[in-house]
Symmetry: C2
Subunit: 342 residues, 2 copies
DNA sequence: AAACATTTGGAAAACGTTACCCACATCACT
DNA sequence: AGTGATGTGGGTAACGTTTTCCAAATGTTT
C-alpha cells in the first residue's frame, strides 16, 4: 500500500508513447517551430495520458527553468506583499512560476539569496528595495535578466520600477500647507551611504520634503528628525521634534510605522491628533487604513508596480539586449483623520 | 565595459585548476567519503580562487538541489510569517535554501504550486495549512519528503507539526469562566468537508470550545455563530450573537481578525468592551498586541512550529523511511484588556 | 611474505532536457 | 525537369553534476 513512488515519467516515455522522437516532444512543449498541428495534438495527448511534467532541473541545464525569483527584504511589510500580488497576477497565466526568498535583510543575506537564485538558474529576478552596492546589482543583472523595484537611479543593465517619492513627499507638504500649517517637520530614515542617499526611497522622500517646503516658501521651517523607519524611530523622532523650542504643528513621517511611533509619543505628551498636531505617513498600509488609527498617508500602488516589474522582466527575458527602461509611478494622497486645518 | 558575462565556472574548471578529477571535486563539495584532507584543502583552495558555485540545476538531475520549498496560503498572515522565521532560522546555517511560493489560496493554486516545487526537484516541502485532499498530500509526501504544518491528523507518509487547538480553546473558555462568564459564545469558520472537519485548526477550535464548555458545566450555554475567519465574518457573527434573546457576555472568536470584526460590531451596537462584553481572539497576532486594541488572545508559538518543521524535514531527507512523527505544541493565553470579570 | 582490508583517486555512465544540425518530402516557380 | 524555398521530423551532442564502479597504493593481519 505504501508503494515507493514510481519513477517519474520523462520526455522519452512520452516520445515512445506518441511514437515520435524526443526532439518532437520538446518542440511541442516549448511551442517551438517545426511541429505540425497533427503532431502537436498527438504529443499533447500522450502528455496528458502519461501525466508528464517536465523536469525543471533538466531544463535548466540547457534552456530555461521557467522560474522567476523575487527577493524582498521583509515579508511582513504589506506594501511588499502588494508588489508581489502584482507580479503574480501578471505572471499568473504564463508558464512562469514565481518563487521568493524569505525576508533577506541586509547586504549579506541579500547577496546570499541572489546567489542562490542564480545557482538555481532562474530565468529572471525581481529585486525589491535591494541595498546591495550598485556595482553588484549591475553584475547580477549582467548574468540574469533583472528588474529592480523601489530603488531610484538608472542602470545600463537592469530595468527599474519606482514610485515617485519626491512627488509623494510634495503631496504631503502641499496638503499640510494647504491646511494652513507652516511648521511642518519630517522624520527620516538616517542614511550615510553615498549611493543610497541618491537611490533609496527614504532619501528621496526627505529630499522631496525639502524641495516642497522651499517651493511653498517654507524654507526656514524645514525641520528634520533623523532616526529610522521603525516604530521606535518614529517615537524617538517625534520626541525630538516635540522638544523643540517652537513645536511643529504637523509631522510628516517617512513611513506609516514611523507615524505610529510618532502618534504614541504625541499621545504620551498629552497632545491630541489632529487637534494639536497633524500627522501624515507614507505607504498607506493596512495599518493606516485601520479605523481607530485612520492615518493620512501616501499611497503607492504596489500592485501596479509589481505588474510593471513582471512585464519588464518578461520583455527582457525575450529580448536580453534591449535598452533598459525606468518606470516611475505617481503616488496619491489618502486623506484621513490625522490631519486637519490648524 | 558592458561585457557579456563570462561563462560560469564549472566543476571541470575547478578540477583542472586543482589538478584533480571532477569526481574528487564533487566529493569535496558534498563532504563525501573518499577524499584525503590534503586533497580537500587543495580543492577548497581552487574553489575559492575561481569563485566556483555549483549549479543547482545540474545537481538536481542526479542528486539533491539543496532547496526546501515552503507553501503557505497567505503571505499577509503574520502567524505564517512566524512559522517561516522558525524554518529559516533552523535552516539558516545549513546548505539548504528556503524558497516559498507566494500565497496560494485554494486547492487549485495549492496543487499548482506543489507540482511546481516537485518539478523543480526540491529536496523537501513544508506545507503550511494545506487544504488539499488527504490522499493528495499522501501522494505528494511519497514522492518528496514533506512536513505538514497546522493540520491535525496523522499520516503514514508525512510528518506534521500542529498547535493544540483544542487546548487553546480550552484556555480561553477557562479564562472566561474563571472571570465569572457563563454565556460564552464562539464564532467559528464554517466547514463542511468531512476530512477538514476533523483536521483543520478552525474545526478543532470549535470542538475544543464545545468540550471545554461541557467540562465547565456550561453545556446549555454553548452558542456558535458559524461564519468565516475574516474580519467581515467576525462582524457578521457578532451581529448574530448580539441579536440573540439573551446576549452572550463573552465572545471567543476563532481568530484575531474575527475578533476585530466582532469589536467593530459591538462598538456599533453601542456596547463597550470589556464592560458589556468580553472578547478573546486566537493567534496573538501583531494586531492583538497593538496597544489601542490590546486583545486577549491565544498564542501559538509559530516560530517554534517552524523550527520543529524544519528539523523533521531534514531528518526525513536524511532518512526517508523512518516512521512519521506528529509534534503538537501547547498554546498559551495572553491576557490583555478585552476580557474582564462580569 | 602472503593475504586481506582500507584509503585514495579517477574514468565513465547516467540524469532529462534543449539546441544544433541534417535529411527528406512537398511545393512553387522557372 | 530543374532549382530553390519551405515544412516536417529526427539524430545526437551538449549542459554540469553525482554515482557507480574499478584500480592502485597503502596499511594490517596472519
Amino acid at each position: 500500500m505504501d508503494k515507493p513512488a514510481p519513477r517519474r515519467v520523462t520526455i522519452v516515455d512520452v516520445a515512445r508513447h506518441a511514437q515520435v522522437s524526443t526532439t518532437a516532444v520538446s518542440k511541442v512543449l516549448r511551442n517551438a517551430y517545426g511541429a505540425s498541428p497533427a503532431m502537436r495534438t498527438k504529443v499533447q495527448q500522450a502528455i496528458a495520458d502519461l501525466g508528464y511534467r517536465p523536469s525543471a532541473a533538466a531544463r535548466g541545464l540547457r534552456g530555461q527553468t521557467y522560474t522567476i525569483g523575487v527577493m524582498l527584504p521583509e515579508l511582513r511589510n504589506l506594501f511588499f506583499a502588494d508588489i508581489l500580488d502584482g507580479i503574480t497576477a501578471q505572471l499568473g497565466d504564463s508558464d512562469y512560476q514565481v518563487l521568493l526568498a524569505p525576508g533577506c535583510n541586509g547586504e549579506k543575506a541579500e547577496a546570499r539569496v541572489i546567489d542562490a537564485m542564480i545557482d538555481r538558474s532562474m530565468d529572471g529576478l525581481v529585486l525589491i528595495a535591494p541595498v546591495s552596492a550598485k556595482s553588484r546589482l549591475n553584475e547580477v543583472a549582467r548574468s540574469v535578466p533583472t528588474v529592480v523595484v523601489g530603488r531610484h537611479g538608472s542602470s545600463p543593465a537592469y530595468d527599474s520600477v519606482t514610485d515617485d517619492d519626491i512627488a509623494g513627499a510634495a503631496l504631503v507638504v502641499e496638503h499640510l500647507a494647504g491646511l494652513g500649517h507652516r511648521r511642518i517637520a519630517h522624520i527620516e530614515h538616517h542614511e550615510t551611504d553615498r549611493v543610497r542617499l541618491a537611490e533609496m526611497p527614504n532619501a528621496q522622500r526627505a529630499h522631496g520634503y525639502r524641495e516642497a517646503m522651499i517651493a511653498h516658501g517654507l524654507e526656514d521651517q524645514i525641520d528634520i528628525a533623523s532616526t529610522s523607519y521603525t516604530q521606535a524611530g518614529g517615537y524617538l523622532g517625534a520626541r525630538q521634534l516635540l522638544d523643540r523650542p517652537v513645536r511643529p504643528t504637523a509631522i510628516f513621517a517617512g513611513a506609516d510605522v514611523v507615524a505610529l511611533g510618532a502618534l504614541e509619543a504625541i499621545a504620551e505628551a498629552g497632545l491630541s491628533v489632529p487637534g494639536d498636531i497633524s500627522v501624515a505617513g507614507y505607504d498607506n498600509s493596512a495599518l493606516a487604513a485601520f479605523g481607530p488609527i485612520s492615518l493620512t498617508s501616501v499611497d503607492q500602488d504596489g500592485r501596479q508596480m509589481g505588474v510593471n516589474a513582471a512585464r519588464l522582466l518578461i520583455d527582457r527575458i525575450d529580448q536580453r539586449d534591449r535598452r533598459t527602461a525606468q518606470i516611475k509611478l505617481s503616488p496619491t494622497l489618502v486623506i484621513r483623520r490625522t490631519t486637519a486645518a490648524r
